[in-house]
Amino acid sequence: MDNSILKIENITMQFGGVTAIKDLSFEVQKGQIYGLIGPNGAGKTTIFNIITGNLTPTNGFVIFENENITSTKPNRVVYKGIARTFQNIRLFKSMTVLENILIGFDAQANYSYFEAILRLPRFFKKEKEIRQKAYELMKIFGIEEFADTNATALSYGNQRKVEIARALATNPKLLLLDEPAAGMNPNETAELSDIIHKIKKDFDLTILLIEHDMKFVNAMCNQLTVLDYGAKIFEGKPADAIVDQKVISAYLGDFSHA
């Protein structure tokens, strides 16, 4: 049986004369935590932007649940069941933590503009529903005490949690995390990996993550792809990656001619 949830097929991405990604293919299976690693500028975030529809690849396809979603509009991709977080946290800065998470529930609060203006019963019912769900989500992340705090007033680690919670609110099947552990201390990183394991189980998620912290990747991922200059140089288990000659030279430089 085909158990793949996301297939990247022969994707090439060129910006003018620069080739950011060269003929890249990989496949993420349902229930995996899949890592995408590589040195700076290897094209990891570009791949995320292609999956979420922010960029249209020069060549190749993105297949999600056997459906071609290449160049689907970003807000439509969310409805298909793909949610993401950003490398540099991007919370809505004028809003509280609760409001930030409620944005994720936007599609589930399916009342119309006129129902909102006239305050018809469905408005109250749906608002109550999504508020309850938002509080449940905040509880999982342990941030419910900050519900009415402005999101940007939180610590970096907590802002990360809000961002992941907001992404989860869209009810995704596939969650894309762009360097979730960046800027965190070892304690926060450990806590984050616990949370990721927990939400993966509770929400029946597949996770694709970009990360630099090899320890974190080792602890988290079942499978990973290593990119260098937009091309795949390794695919397999994390344990094998750290002893792979190509991976080592991509990260540390090529010493063979020294």
């Binding site: 922010n54 809003m95 599609a107 909102a116 006239l118 999504i130 609110a169």
Partner: protein, 337 residues
């Protein structure tokens, strides 16, 4: 539950005030109140697109003009139109257009909203400063259209003898309705989505928000109430000319919503009262100024100088406007905690 009771009490109190004012206030006070209420309608609706959805557009003078012209044409009887149109004969459709007061202003609002819908497709392809320039152009186009199509608008001479149906009961109640509608919008998923577009458009898209749709909703709602306000303005003044709807009108509204705090509806309301009322209350400055028994003579324009200085000082001390992006009730909530 308490909140509902409080809101109903506030609404009834406002309505009673409106009725009382219409009956007992003299016509000078009423004209100031009417002016404040109309500008409140315009500022509240402008605040939705500019403050809440964060789209720096400079179009309201265009929509106000559309509403004003539609209402005027619908209200003026056909015979009066024939007499009034001096440059060319009025177009047949202009003579046929006729409606009661309430339908007339609503049609004015709907016309403005439809124009907003058409306009949103080209306009929201650009963001920020570019959006400001494009919408600014729209305001000019409407004015020039009004001047150059005398068969429809009587050209630069404008329209007069507009039946004066708009009293403070109409204007005040519509201002109240506008305020309630705006509060209902910003406290719903649509308001949240509009704010998310303002804060970070890409992140909003990544949450599944259709940003174009949200901008268009804000733009059309804004245009509808600006058209409505324009209709009330036309009926209150009984005469309109294209030059009334110049960029200065937009500019005045911009001052009001920035002073009140971009995104804050109660802020916009307070700022309208301060700006529109202040302009009136400071009128004594244009009269003879007598200080310490010495007569300095009259210096017309002193009023505007003082008014501007007050504005500058206020903006220095409240950089994000009087209320920031919060509502008045939010401040009470914090205190009670």
């Amino acid at each position: 539950m308490k909140k509902i009771v409080r809101n109903i009490v506030l609404i009834i109190a406002t309505l009673l005030f409106i009725l009382y004012a219409q009956k007992n206030f003299d016509s000078y006070t009423l004209s100031i109140l009417n002016n404040i209420a109309i500008f409140a309608i315009l500022a509240l609706s402008y605040n939705l697109i500019n403050g809440v959805a964060g789209q720096f557009s400079l179009e309201p003078n265009g929509f106000v003009a559309i509403g004003a012209y539609f209402t005027a044409i619908l209200l003026i009887p056909a015979e009066t139109k024939v007499d009034m149109f001096a440059l060319v004969d009025p177009a047949p459709i202009i003579l046929q257009m006729k409606a009661q007061f309430l339908p007339a202003i609503v049609i004015g609002g709907i016309a403005a909203a439809l124009v907003a819908l058409l306009l949103s497709f080209p306009v929201f392809r650009v963001r920020g400063d570019y959006l400001a320039i494009v919408t600014l152009g729209f305001g000019f186009i409407i004015r020039i259209f009004a001047i150059n199509n005398p068969a429809y608008t009587n050209g630069a001479m404008g329209l007069n003898d507009i039946p004066s149906n708009a009293n403070f009961i109409w204007i005040g109640s519509i201002a109240l309705i506008t305020f309630i509608v705006m509060i209902h919008i910003i406290n719903s998923k649509f308001g949240r989505a509009m704010k998310s577009v303002r804060d970070d458009e890409d992140a909003a898209t990544a949450m599944g928000i259709n940003t174009f749709k949200m901008k268009t909703y804000a733009f059309m709602t804004s245009a509808f109430f600006e058209g409505l306000g324009g209709g009330l303005l036309a009926s209150m003044l009984t005469t309109i000319t294209p030059d009334q709807f110049s960029f200065l009108l937009t500019f005045q509204l911009l001052i009001i919503i920035v002073l009140g705090g971009l995104g804050s509806m109660s802020g916009a309301l307070i700022a309208t009262i301060l700006v529109m009322g202040g302009m009136e209350w400071l009128r004594f400055l244009d009269d003879n100024i007598v200080l310490f028994g010495k007569d300095f003579g009259a210096h017309p324009g002193t009023r505007m100088v003082v008014f501007s200085i007050i504005l500058i000082i206020m903006m220095l001390f409240a950089r994000r406007g009087i209320l920031g992006d919060k509502e008045l009730f939010d401040y009470f909530k914090k205190k009670s905690k």
